[in-house]
């Protein structure tokens, strides 16, 4: 389904690569956790799958196609088959939950009739059938993420990428979101989820890929969040310059409901640029 063939990605010449010599394959219908500290290359990996950015070396295959051979005008077609969910939800604040899902269909030219059938179906699936008319700020963090997942899945993509989808949610809510992703996975969609959610990874016992400094250091078929491997950063065996090693057994710190509502404003800098209209770094990269 997704295959990285010796892929290296360097954003700026001379800097250390974001992803180095990546050789990995995610097969159809798989559920994969990507773990690793911030800056270890998880987001870069996802961006390459979406052809948001191109590898400096190596080849990325999605659904059997070499992405470097897809002309830019075919990229939208590629993206229609990939759903994407973010830590900060990225709902349109001026549209209701229903309209947010509708938007994803309308902008790719789905007929009105189909939209009227699909949107309620999706709301039903994510358990928000009665909240379609709510604005995003009237929904809790978990509910907003459900709307975001509905929007990503409404086109029935064969791949769903989730970049720390539970990063802003309390453990109980996160569990619900994970259940939803599992359900989607059971319908045959390949799910790749970057996460710091130790509890979730340990509970699910799915494939775990750990990245450190742009390289895959661990790939376990039914892994746990931390291992005794000496290279593993999150196990606390290697010093990590970016963030504190997580020693809190509960996972992310408790977040109150009020704080969740404001999370939309708190965008981590890495994600901030992900879909900005002008990706300066990228331009230079691609011009080379």
């Amino acid at each position: 389904m997704i295959r990285f063939d010796n892929v290296t990605k360097t954003y700026l010449r001379g800097q250390s690569p974001a992803v180095e010599n990546l050789d990995i394959e995610f097969t159809r219908g798989e559920f994969v956790f990507l773990v690793g500290a911030s800056g270890s290359g998880k987001s870069t990996l996802m961006r390459m799958v979406l052809k948001e950015t191109s590898p400096s070396r190596g080849t990325v295959y999605v659904a059997g196609k070499d992405l470097s051979r897809i002309p830019s005008w075919r990229v939208p077609t590629l993206r229609r088959d990939i759903g994407m969910v973010f830590q900060d939800f990225r709902l349109l604040p001026s549209k209701t939950a229903y309209q947010n899902i509708e938007f994803a269909l309308a902008v790719i030219g789905t007929p009105r009739k189909v939209v009227r059938r699909l949107v309620p179906e999706m709301l039903e699936m994510v358990g928000l059938a009665d909240k379609g008319k709510r604005m995003p700020h009237e929904l809790s963090g978990g509910e907003q993420q459900r709307v975001a997942i509905a929007r990503a899945y409404v086109n029935r993509p064969s791949i769903l990428l989730a970049d720390e989808p539970t990063g802003n949610l309390d453990p109980a809510t996160a569990e619900g979101i994970l259940g939803l992703l599992t359900e989607i996975n059971e319908h045959g969609t390949t799910v790749v989820m970057a996460t710091h959610d130790r509890a979730a990874v340990n509970r699910m016992r799915r494939r775990v890929v750990e990245m450190v400094g742009g390289e895959v250091v661990r790939d376990d078929a039914a892994g746990r969040y931390e291992t005794i491997e000496p290279d593993s950063v999150i196990s606390g065996n290697t010093p990590d310059g970016e963030e504190e090693p997580e020693s809190d057994p509960v996972g992310p710190a408790d977040v109150t409901e009020e704080e969740l509502l404001d999370e939309r404003e708190l965008r981590p800098r890495e994600e901030e640029d992900l879909f900005a209209p002008d990706d300066r770094d990228d331009e230079q990269e691609e011009d080379r």
Binding site: P76, R79, I108, R112, R151, P277
Partner: protein, 305 residues
């Protein structure tokens, strides 16, 4: 669905940036007015030249009893003097320049004179004897008029040699200079309009950043993402073109038709409000093309897919 969606996007886009859109409309309108004025002036010049070329370009008036020129000291031109002009025009030296010659005798001159001043009391005081014989010459090449004028000027029995083109040269010069001036202003304003459109698009893109990010994410096509911006610019420019046409109509109606044409004669001033039939659509098209081109350029800068 698509059409209605895009239409909605254009309307909300226009409304969100209403101040910028108004300034785009005004700047485009003013610049297109200058473009239109320049085009109409050039049309006037071309018309005038072709009218002058069609008609006699050089006219030789022989002396009449009333002539005061020094070459007419002998009174009205004699038959021999008239004959010498006639042969000179047919002669080897001049025949290469001369396309055709029409000779107007005294009777004909009187008829034209009476027609021109019909109703005036003094007309009846004149007889054919008072009128000059004249030669109306059409040149093969209007540019050679100076040579012909030179040849006859000051000859015995020749009162006056007029060159229509040189008579109208100052007028044509004024029109040409005004055209340059109007085009210069138009270019400046058009640059301002193009930059304004670019700025408006940039703001609009910034306003819709989230929507655009989601559209790209879910795989909306490039055209679909860009169309609202392009059409937004085009709508503003088309409004500008319509306003420019309106201003030109006012100018043509009140300045040209109500003042210039009666003053200078309908024969000379050929431009009328009817010319807007071709000028207005041309202006609107120019405006739309300008807006679309500058939109495409700025979209390529600010909206990468």
């Amino acid at each position: 669905m698509r059409a209605r969606y895009i239409l909605g996007e254009i309307l909300t886009g226009l409304w969100r940036n209403v101040a910028m859109v108004i300034s785009v409309v005004i700047v485009t309108a003013v610049s297109l007015t200058f473009v239109g004025a320049a085009a109409l002036m050039q049309k006037q010049i071309l018309d005038m030249k072709s009218t002058l070329v069609e008609e006699a370009q050089v006219t030789i008036y022989m002396c009449s009893p009333h002539s005061t020129a020094s070459s007419c000291a002998g009174g009205a031109a004699t038959d021999a003097q008239i004959e010498s002009v006639r042969t000179a025009l047919e002669g080897e030296v001049l025949s290469q320049y001369v396309g055709s010659v029409e000779e107007r005798d005294q009777e004909q001159a009187l008829a034209i004179y009476q027609e021109q001043f019909a109703g005036e009391g003094f007309v009846s005081n004149f007889t054919a004897e008072d009128m000059p014989v004249s030669f109306h010459i059409t040149l093969t090449d209007a540019e050679d008029s100076a040579a012909v004028v030179e040849f006859f000027q000051g000859r015995d029995g020749v009162d006056e040699v007029t060159d229509l083109l040189s008579a109208f040269a100052p007028f044509i010069d004024v029109l040409n200079q005004s055209t340059l001036f109007a085009l210069g202003l138009a270019v400046l304003m058009l640059i301002a309009a193009a930059l304004l459109v670019a700025t408006t698009i940039r703001m609009s893109v910034a306003n819709r950043r989230r929507e655009i990010a989601i559209m790209r994410l879910v795989g909306a096509s490039n055209v679909f993402i860009r169309a609202p911006f392009l059409l937004e610019g085009a709508v503003a420019a088309i409004l500008g073109g319509l306003i420019a046409s309106g201003m030109l109509w006012i100018g043509l109606q009140y300045i040209v038709e109500d003042w210039l044409t009666p003053t200078l004669g309908a024969q000379l001033i050929s431009v009328t409000t009817a010319d807007l039939i071709w000028a207005a659509p041309a202006l609107i098209v120019v405006g739309a093309i300008l807006a679309i081109v500058s939109s495409v350029v700025s979209l390529n800068r600010y909206l990468k897919v």
